[in-house]
Symmetry: C2
DNA sequence: TTTATTATTTAGATTTGTCTAAATAATATT
DNA sequence: AATATTATTTAGACAAATCTAAATAATAAA
């Protein structure tokens, strides 16, 4: 199956929005892809034709088995390139997404597998997201919650769920990155803020809004 | 200037065919790009509009200063990726061209420069072709001739000018690659063949046709 | 220098991926 | 349940990159 870049991007976004089982809505997909609902409908017809999605008019979209397989390949390539950019070319955390967005479309299994090997077959990418293996198998993610819902006091940052440049840059400025250890000092209900302390730095206060996007696990 | 992949491919091929100064012909460019002359004419109009080429109806094509600059950027990216694939991912000589053909279209100066640095700022690629630096400057290639015109008896392979998969695979099978040292045993005029001996291997006979595409310098 | 051949361009069509505006279906509200 | 709102699809258009077939220009041959 030879997919165009546009097709790959749609498959990837459907995968992202589906989160397990949920049906993906035309509007949501259009928003995610920064395009128009009418365009999504067009593409849905094509992808249904290719048997990559299940789709009935007005009923939303889900990936077929083949579609899921394709999506995992794309995600694998994306996350491996992110590893490469961060580990080997010293890009920072928040810079790599856009570049990986382009590199992921070089569809060569041999290249992908050699790259993986070169990187030491990593199982999570710089954002903490798991990397599918050559068969599309995902390592089960370690138990993690968003920072605003964490119980434990001592935590490690494992991922950032919102990949907006703004947030990533903000965190970077605060000295927070993947693997950063932090402590919850206090959680103020009355103004929805959380006071945290990053190892070796003065305590800072962040909003629950931001904390929602920071994934952590107990250390 | 934001170029599409199709535009970049045209610019690159014009650069390749131009070889210094020569005017590039519509037909030659169509052949090189595996497309039709009519399509080349269409693209020529567009590239002229963008001031990347000089072009007058029926008069052929040459790169403008801007066009040459763009071409060198593309060539730089192509050759750096080839280095990466061979040096870091252990691809063989003849496998890398097609992959680099895709990777070269990721247009990020930062990525390109980081990649170069990561590779130790190489000045020639695995085919022996010089890599333009960040300013588009080409290291002057060392004195080399094609194997069929070599005077010296002991030679090193520095490049292969025809990058067809068939030829590269053929050479690989014969144990000839970049840096291979060989000796000319005899040059038979009457059947246009050359007998050569690769270090540590029995002598073999190749046609002048093939020898024309193997670049060598005296060792 | 005519004529034949080859090279190049034009005209018009096609495919892919997108869009806007209008029509229709699904859902929510009164 | 009738109506209003929102979501989705259809119809028709457009731009990019390509193609084929026909027309025209340049070059080679007679």
């Amino acid at each position: 199956m030879n997919l165009s870049i546009a097709e790959e991007n749609h498959i990837k976004s459907i995968y992202k929005l589906q989160e397990g089982d949920a049906v993906v809505t035309t509007n949501a997909l259009a928003y995610e892809l920064d395009t128009k609902p009418a365009s999504v409908t067009d593409m849905a017809k094509k992808l249904k034709e290719k048997k990559l999605i299940e789709y009935e008019k007005y009923k939303g979209i889900t990936l077929s088995a083949d579609g899921r397989k394709a999506a995992l390949q794309i995600v694998r390539r994306h996350r491996l390139w992110e590893c490469f950019l961060v580990d080997k070319l010293s890009f920072s955390w928040e810079e790599v997404h856009e570049l990986a967005e382009e590199l992921e479309h070089v569809r060569s299994e041999k290249l992908t597998n050699r790259l993986s090997e070169f990187l030491g077959n990593p199982v999570i990418d710089p954002h903490g997201d798991p990397i599918p293996d050559a068969n599309g198998k995902l390592a089960k993610p370690r138990p993690q919650t968003s920072l605003d819902q964490a119980n434990a006091k001592r935590l490690v940052v494992t991922a950032v769920s919102d990949q907006s440049t703004a947030l990533l840059a903000f965190l970077n400025a605060k000295g927070i990155k993947l693997g950063t250890q932090l402590e919850i000092v206090a959680h103020y209900e009355y103004d929805n803020s959380i006071e945290i302390k990053v190892k070796g730095q003065p305590a800072i206060t962040i909003s629950e809004q931001v904390a929602k996007n920071i994934m952590v696990r107990p250390v």
